[in-house]
Assembly symmetry: C2
């Protein structure tokens, strides 16, 4: 019941009874117990008018706090969240996972107590920690498995290492799975079959099936970065040729932009390169928005290749929504338009008739919110909150 209230984001008693298929009286009895334990609290206008029992139940925001951590290939994001997933504080910094777990873990060790202290929150108030990582995770043991973007992290136990930082339980999952989990929570589980695509240094996909996150038979579902889009394409670090990640993720976009700058096809990018010494994907977006044709072509090419992969996945999976996120997704409207065009051209009408391909509803916070959802859900399930 606590979990159902959490997923609803605050919910009328009668709706909760419907969701759980409980009678109205059973719902009220259970709610009374959880209210007395301080796990739920009440809200609603009826309270002030006296007489009637307040209708809306919420998870008690005063229960404690959660940490959501999003370890990216090139960034580290932390959020301190309330149990209703509103963000109390957020911290972002550049970081390089290729340097192995040492530097990242040491930053977490100093940042987490600092964020708590800044907001006058006691360390004991931390209920649970959720962490997203850019690689395949064995969810049961909380370890990375052969992560291609994270050499040095293979079989490293983030969970064990975190014991020095906090006694709260720690849960680890793949970053895109957490974006999907966050999106599922944000939609109150109203949409049941959808995909979340993250385009950054790599390309990954979170899959929601029948209203639950789908991890696949061995936990690697959604690993779409190495789907082939051109058998004669460039060599990928996985050993194959023409993987979508090697041709359309941030490094490929930067390489195409670099070439456009160096060959003089893009005066705008050439100037940026001269000024900054190196280009980023976001610079290509800026050049495209400013009307630079070569930059536009790069953005469209990347979108078209990603759309080509999505078209196949849409035919196969028939999702109701495809949500696009990750750092590269911000490189301009041309990018989303190219993805959409490519999907619509190559997918069957029956699959696209009601399909929506849009930016995710949580924007750049999807990973952090998802980490918070993981932390909260798992703490509710393992009884560390309710006990």
């Amino acid at each position: 019941m606590l979990e159902a209230t959490f997923w609803s984001g605050g919910c009328a008693r009668h709706a909760l009874a419907d969701t759980l298929q409980f009678s109205r009286s059973k719902t009220n009895t259970l709610a009374a117990g959880l209210l007395e334990q301080g796990l739920l609290d009440e809200a609603g206008l009826q309270h002030s008018t006296g007489g009637r029992r307040p209708e809306t139940l919420r998870v008690n925001a005063g229960l404690g706090v959660l940490f959501g951590v999003d370890i990216g290939a090139t960034s580290l994001d932390l959020a301190l969240l309330r149990p209703d997933l509103t963000i109390i504080a957020r911290h972002s910094q550049a970081a390089d996972v290729q340097g192995g777990p040492g530097p990242i873990m040491s930053r977490l060790r100093s940042l987490m107590p600092m964020m708590l202290a800044e907001h006058g929150i006691a360390p004991e108030a931390v209920l649970s920690v959720g962490i997203g990582v850019p690689g395949p995770v064995n969810f049961a043991v909380g370890q990375l498995v052969n992560p291609p973007l994270m050499p040095g992290w293979d079989s490293f136990s983030i969970r064990d290492d975190m014991r020095e930082v906090t006694p709260a339980p720690v849960f680890i999952d793949n970053d895109v799975n957490l974006m999907a989990l966050g999106t599922l929570w944000r939609q109150h589980r109203q949409i049941e079959d959808f995909l979340v695509i993250k385009i950054g240094t790599g390309i990954g996909c979170g899959i929601v099936c029948h209203g639950e996150l789908y991890r696949g038979a061995t936990g690697s579902a959604g690993d779409i970065g190495h789907i082939c889009v051109d058998p004669d394409g460039p060599l990928c670090r996985c050993g194959n040729k023409g993987c979508v990640e090697a041709m359309a993720a941030a490094p490929a976009i930067v390489a195409m932009a670099q070439e456009a700058a160096e060959t003089g096809r893009s005066p705008w990018l050439a100037e940026m390169l001269k000024a900054k010494g190196q280009l980023e994907a976001i610079d290509v977006g800026a050049a495209s928005r400013a009307g630079d044709e070569a930059a536009d072509a790069v953005v469209r090419r990347a979108g078209q290749l990603i759309g080509q992969v999505l078209a196949a996945l849409v035919n196969f999976y028939n999702p109701s929504h495809v949500f696009i996120g990750g750092g590269v997704s911000a490189i301009g409207p041309m990018f989303l338009a190219a993805i959409r065009q490519s999907v619509n051209q190559r997918s069957l009408a029956l699959s696209t008739r009601h399909l929506e391909v849009t930016y995710g509803p949580l924007g750049g916070e999807a990973g952090l919110i998802g980490a918070g959802v993981l932390a909260m859900r798992e703490a509710l399930r393992n009884g560390s909150i309710a006990s």
Copy 2:
């Protein structure tokens, strides 16, 4: 409980209690009721030794019979089945769905009573009918939706038409979904995340997710025939170029074989063409098995293209098993070998480490058994058996 017993294919009481999370005594009480109504019966050695209650419960094989119907693009298959899905009688004939529903429905009207009469079964004994069709189905209303292989069937209600044949309830689904459902039943739901690929006149896929058939947001999941394998490939009837169906399903295999025969590259196929007037996919298999190199190349090419699509799906979906079925799957060991090679080459190690790509466990009967599973499951769910 009846449905759980059906899925188990006969099950010990204690195992059933575990599956349903019922106490032993609740299980025995419910079983006693169902035994008294004649819906279950008992089996097991303990019966003859006296004293102890027989441990194994089964759905009563004497309840009645089911019809499973598999309408293919070029064939019509019927089976009369017991509630435990053993086949009492089977009938197969060539048929052409392109001629519209009239001829097919009229054959069903004569064949079904004939099969019952031949086995001395009263028409009232028919519990339920399951029908598979080679096109997208709106499962809720039991109608085909824009079926590309079945012009003339769009919005035709097979269910309404069947009222003239039998008063038993009729359930319709896509043929590959039924192969997946049959396979799920055959495996006692022990494997939870797998794909079934049917390669015949078209190419389709049935998806099992978390132990349930997955139909997608609008029911078209698994429609993989129009995934692009070559942007410069031949024009497909869907209007796009290089769809896997246009390049590797039966008509494409026949076209490649025809060319090999006509250009003299395959003496074997040239002789067959001369003798028969036209070639079938199965002839290419025979030629390949006899050592004809050109036929071998055709088989390998088709397998390689299908493997290319499967590699992408395996990366995305991370199934534990991919089961290959349909008429074309019988064209020889080279075909399965080429599919496997292509999948292993292009999928990530993490996805293929425990992956099995094999022929389906039900062989050519998967569609019929699946139609029987659909008939039985839906009749149990809608209460037409238990009432």
